[in-house]
Symmetry: C2
């Protein structure tokens, strides 16, 4: 049996929700073809964006590691062959590695007679991210598998609370031609923060979760703030402040660094704006600093799903 | 014109929501009679629980200060006389001073031809708390005025997001015969916290807000956790851990220090439990440490409201 699945890009952190919030995007996404292999092995191949830099050793690739965790959890007596076509550029800040991990777990699960529940898939993918990135985290893999907006209440035990993203929430993304390694983005962060910043993040995170649940886009815009992490990382992405200001001036509800960057993500109300002027403004603000960028308009999306080949 | 209003006790902090979350209780409450005074003065009298220790200087009493802020904000050309009957014991951890401030603002507002909106009343009461307690805070006054569960997204500018508390949420309270000053409770707190504690509080706070909004009492119980503040304050309330454990063993969803203590508050599902065994268990656990306590069962409540005299 051969099955094709898609696994979406995601934005992690999302304002006050460092390591907690994530949002699935409609585009871009990876496509994974999976089929059963009799001898229990995991075989992997990768094509598409940035594929030259992605390891194809099954013990070092997040998709194959996640698939292995799923097969082991199910006690499966077979292996899988995964053919990944990357639509999401690695190191861009929109969860490329997380999408592969999520897709590997989801694809392997499609071959089981008794599929495992989403929470097991999220855990498998989060653990795979731990193997490849050095830190178990679920803020990308959770929305990649479940879709919409997700809240990682707890990693151990894992609990993810999911919220259907507001219907009218548009997403504009600008990806500058700048490299930010996840490691560098982590290294600039502090070990501790003032209590007043905890209070700020708690107040804004609770409000943002309620705004998502209610589809209250005004409250969403006022709540999507980060007092700690993005300010620390702003030096890693030249022109960040100018790009965000340009997006807000063009009508965005909020504009922020996607994940650990360098993508800049702006949210907007699809009833008020088609987003084209926002991506133009973002692209233009990068250009003023002589920085090329790729930019596009999309929306919040579903999680991993089966495609009809 | 003479008007009578009630102003409820509230629980602030509420698990992960230090300085952000608050919950209005059905009982106890203060009752305030208010009437117009022609010469612009504020006159105040206080009777009831703990009234001997409450200042009646209008410049030092939170109710009269809040009333003054409301009259000034409205440009009123009259003063008010406030007669407060305290049903909420001061320094108990259930927002006694906040209820007075809220009630003072709400009562003065009842006398205006064009009443001010709730957010102005919350701001007036929060500023009054700032005068009497040394720190502007809205986590008690917001639920006292609005009712239900409240999230203070931001103090400046003030924005409060309110959530109707779940219909089946019961509250059991045990008030031990122990004094905890708000000042002492603040002094034991750290100035800064590890980033992992911020992540914990953000994840749990967002989940708790969603649990309140959805009426998901299971999620509410799992989300109502505090990694930082209550652990620091546990030494201020003898037997706290034993009382909370006793409440959980008796079927509570969560058990925690109300505000800065010494009240211990347990939440439970009214469909599963009438709460009597929970208050008995809490009282018993205090008694085993030779500590007397007053205890009662109540529910989430409305905010300030007019009573028919």
């Amino acid at each position: 049996m051969r099955v094709r699945v898609s696994t979406p890009a995601t934005v992690a952190n999302v304002g006050p929700g460092f390591d907690v919030f994530g949002l699935a995007l409609k585009e871009p996404f990876d496509v994974i073809d999976v089929e059963m292999v009799d001898d229990g092995a995991i075989i992997i191949s990768v094509t598409g964006l940035g594929s030259d830099d992605i390891p194809v050793d099954p013990k070092r690739n997040s998709a194959s590691i996640a698939a292995r965790f799923v097969l082991d959890a199910a006690g499966a007596d077979f292996g899988v062959s995964l053919s990944i076509k990357k639509g999401i550029r690695p190191c861009s800040g929109i969860g490329s590695s997380g999408a592969s991990a999520a897709g590997g777990a989801f694809a392997a699960n499609m071959l089981l007679d008794d599929p495992l529940p989403n929470e097991v898939l999220v855990l498998a993918a989060a653990k795979a991210e731990g193997v490849t990135a050095g830190k178990v985290h679920a803020d990308n893999v959770a929305p990649s598998i479940i879709g919409g907006f997700t809240v990682v209440r707890s990693l151990s035990p894992l609990e993810v609370v999911s919220v259907a993203a507001p219907k009218h929430l548009g997403v504009a993304v600008a990806m500058p031609d700048v490299m930010v390694s996840t490691r560098a983005a982590r290294e600039v962060l502090p070990d501790s923060v003032p209590v007043r910043d905890l209070v700020f993040h708690v107040g804004h995170a609770a409000s943002l979760a309620l705004a998502m649940e209610r589809g209250d886009l005004g409250l969403l815009g006022r709540s999507l703030r980060d007092a700690v992490f993005e300010p620390m990382r702003s030096s890693l992405v030249p022109r960040l402040a100018e790009v965000e200001t340009a997006a807000m001036d063009a009508g965005a509800l909020a504009s922020f660094l996607g994940g650990s960057g360098p993508c800049v993500v702006s949210l907007f109300d699809l009833r008020m704006n088609d987003g084209e002027n926002i991506v133009s403004a973002m692209k233009g603000a990068f250009e003023e600093g002589n920085i090329d960028s790729e930019s596009w308009v999309t929306a919040c999306g579903e999680g991993c799903r089966r495609l009809v080949p």
